[in-house]
Every structure is written in structure tokens, then in C-alpha cells.
């Protein structure tokens, strides 16, 4: 029985990892675009982006998940996600990526705005372009500053993936819960906590390592 539970939980956890990795892959670059938008000098764009970030950060992720998945079908009579598990997965990822990109964007913005004006000016008087200044001078300094707040968000994401369960995406919580009905076992659900704990432990070590790696310079 134990073996059966572990196999099932491992499968569920693989899906959790997939949700986690795909969300990061989408939200990290999208967040940067949103951050640039929220710092834009073109006021309508800035206003639009700020409103969007307000809505996303101001409502529960679970609600966003439900609206994104059920909304198109119920409101527009056009279920763009299809019926299968594939469609549910894509809907979940869309919700997660949008949500996390908004949180990341604020962290990026804080990081970018904290870089001293002199760094930009030094690049300018040396004849660098704006793009060169951002990627060659500013970016690594921003990364160094945002590692602690980003690690916070990313560790939260590990656990937020469990919300996917409410639109029936088969992840580890679902896998553990299934044993209550099928075999009357409650411990597999509790046991899923260990998976999260272990994975977050690994992430904590990883972020500690990155912080240490970037400690060779001071701003």
C-alpha cells in the first residue's frame, strides 16, 4: 500500500513541479515587461498597467483561477480551454503566470528604481546606449538586490500550485486526497506536506547559494 501511495504522490508531485517550472518560465520575463510598462512615461500605458496590477494583486488567486477557467465558457459561450486535462493545465498556467508576473513586476520595479542615477549617467557619458546600460550595468545590480524578495515569492509559488486542484488539475494534493475516498487513508494527504517542505528546503539552499555568489561586489 505504501508503495502504491508513494507512486501516486510522486506522480502528483511531478505535476506540481511542472506547474511551478512553467509558471516561473512565463512569469519571470512577463514580469519584466509589466515592470517596464508601469515605469513608462506614456501615461495611458502606465495607467493601464497599474490598474491591471491592482486588480491582480487585489483579488484572490483562487478566484482568478476560476474566472479564467470558467469565464470564457460561461460568459462568452466559448470555452477556449477545451474540456480535457490539457486545457485545464493551460488555464491554470495562464492564471498563475499573470498573477505571479504582477507580483514580480513590483519587485523588479523596486530593484530597478533603487539603482543610483550615477550608474546610468556613467554609462551615458561613456557613450553607451540605453539597452547596453540596462543589460551591462544595471541588470546584475538589480538581480543582486531582488534575490531575497524573489525567493520569498518563488517559495510561495511552490505552495500556491496546490490551488490548481480546484479546477481538477491532478497535482500532489489531489493525489493525496484521492486515498481518503478510495482507501479510507488520511495519512497520504498529510504526507504531501513533506514533499513541499523538502522542495522548499532545496530552494532555500539554492537562493542562499545565489546570494553568496553575488556577494563578491557591493553597491
Amino acid at each position: 500500500m505504501i508503495q502504491e501511495v508513494l507512486i501516486s504522490l510522486n506522480n502528483g508531485f511531478l505535476k506540481t513541479l511542472q506547474l511551478f517550472a512553467c509558471t516561473l518560465l512565463g512569469a519571470i520575463p512577463l514580469g519584466l515587461l509589466i515592470a517596464f510598462g508601469s515605469m513608462s512615461k506614456f501615461l495611458p500605458l502606465k495607467g493601464l498597467i497599474k490598474t491591471f496590477v491592482w486588480i491582480i494583486r487585489g483579488t484572490p488567486l483562487m478566484l482568478q483561477l476560476l474566472i479564467i477557467y470558467y469565464g470564457p465558457g460561461l460568459l462568452l459561450h466559448n470555452n477556449i480551454w477545451g474540456g480535457g486535462s490539457e486545457g485545464r493545465l493551460i488555464a491554470v498556467l495562464a492564471a498563475f503566470i499573470l498573477n505571479y508576473a504582477c507580483y514580480f513586476s513590483e519587485i523588479y520595479r523596486g530593484g530597478i528604481e533603487s539603482i543610483a542615477k550615477g550608474q546610468y549617467e556613467a554609462g551615458q557619458v561613456l557613450g553607451m546606449t540605453k539597452t547596453q546600460i540596462f543589460f551591462r550595468i544595471v541588470l546584475l545590480q538589480v538581480i543582486k538586490r531582488i534575490v531575497p524578495p524573489m525567493s520569498n515569492e518563488i517559495i510561495t509559488l511552490v505552495k500556491d500550485t496546490s490551488l490548481a486542484r480546484i479546477i481538477a488539475v491532478y497535482e500532489i494534493i489531489w493525489a493525496g486526497q484521492a486515498f481518503i475516498k478510495s482507501a479510507g487513508l488520511i495519512w497520504p494527504l498529510f504526507f504531501t506536506g513533506l514533499y513541499y517542505l523538502l522542495f522548499c528546503g532545496i530552494l532555500t539552499l539554492l537562493f542562499g547559494y545565489i546570494e553568496k555568489k553575488l556577494n563578491y561586489f557591493h553597491q
Binding site: 543610483a116 550615477g118 550608474q119 549617467e121 556613467a122 554609462g123 551615458q124 557619458v125 561613456l126 557613450g127 553607451m128 546606449t129 547596453q132 551591462r136 550595468i137 546584475l140 545590480q141 543582486k144 563578491y216 561586489f217 557591493h218 553597491q219
Partner: protein, 252 residues
Amino acid sequence: MPILEVNNIKKHFGKTEVLKGITFSLEKGEVLSIIGSSGSGKTTLLRCLNFLETADEGSFSVAGKTVFNAADTSTLSEAEIRRNRLHFGLVFQSFNLFPQYNILKNITLAPTLAKCGTPEEIDQKARALIERVGLTDKIRNYPCELSGGQQQRVAIARALAMEPDILCFDEPTSALDPALTGEVLRVIKDLKSGDSTMIVVTHEMEFARGVSDKVIFMADGVIEESGTPEEVFGHPKSEKTRAFLSTSLEKI
């Protein structure tokens, strides 16, 4: 022909007129010191020359070629500004070295991005510049491992790497403790013999007097007095100059 001609530069921030029409010229190889109390517009003038601020009125030219003209929008486009600002180099009060790069990379970064030669040429030139400012033993160190004076010497080498026609210094020793100002001033003094054209905004009166070919005293956004160091320091004509000099040379 003068290397630099500045014509009637005006600049205001909000309602405050910071520069009220600045006109001067500079010959190749000359060292110009700009002195004056805080808020007189010295730094703003330097920033206008380096395109960090855009002057509202006026123009300036380098070796006869107009590089900025407030009335001509073609000198104001971004690409044009990037080309033209390389006539000038700027050493900041607060050094502004790139913290994530070692000393060598700080100096080679801009020439590499601008493709000013092969990597070997750029590297060789950077090493020669580092030797010139006396920091060969620090070539692999990071800025945070250097003293303020050493950082400022690196900043000078970094500015020289782009071979500006005119090198500007914005109060290069004001962020340093007195023990470290000497080494930076010595480096600047040594550049003079290398016939670089320089503009130095400074509070170091002894230095301005000893090194400059020309001194400008600014007060309230205008050039109150200008001339040779002997004229300005020895026989100041303006009342304001005399008042300024007597307070700054006052021994406490």
C-alpha cells in the same frame, strides 16, 4: 581655433535660472578651473556640456564643429547626442564605478561596446591607463576593495579610455577625505603634461591656482570673473570674487 567654444548657455530648473548665459572658449591643451560657491551653476554647466542636462538656450562647438545647439533639433536626437558626447569625458564626484566589474573590466567595457578596436588593443590600452594612474597591482580588484582615492583614479582612467577631446571633472575630490585628495590631484596634474584639455570644477583653490591655465569664477549663474590664475587669485577685480576668495582661503 579653440577646441571648445561655449556660446550663451542658459538653463533653468522650474522657476530657478541656474545658468544665465555662459560664454567662454578653451584652447587645446589648456586646463580650465571653474570655481565658485555651491549653487552657482558650475556642476550644471559641466552636465550641460556632457549632455546629462539639455541647455534651454545656447550652443557649443568642439574644434569648430557644432555639437549642441538648442535651436537645432538635429543636435538633440539620441543617436546624435551619443556621438557628440564622446568629445567629452566626465569624472564624477562620487566616482560611479560599475561595482560588479573589476578594475580592468570597468575600463574596457565602454570601448568594447563601442568597438573601439580589437579586444587585444582595448586590453593593452586599458592596462597602460591603469599604469598611468598607478594601480597596476589592483587590476583584478573590485571597486569595493579600493579606497575612495583609488576609485577616483580608476574613474579617470575609465574616462580617458574613450579618448575624449575634453575631460571634465566634477568636484573630483569633494567625496574624499583630505588624506586622499592629494593622490587624485597629482594624477590630474600629470595629465596636464600629456596635453589633455581639461575642465575642472573644484573647491581646491591651491590646485586651481597651481595647475590651471585659465580660471573662471562663477556666481549666481553667470561668469563673474575669468582670466589667468594670477589675475583671478592675485588681482581679483570683482567684489564677489574677492569675498569668495577671502572666505575660501581663510585659515581656521
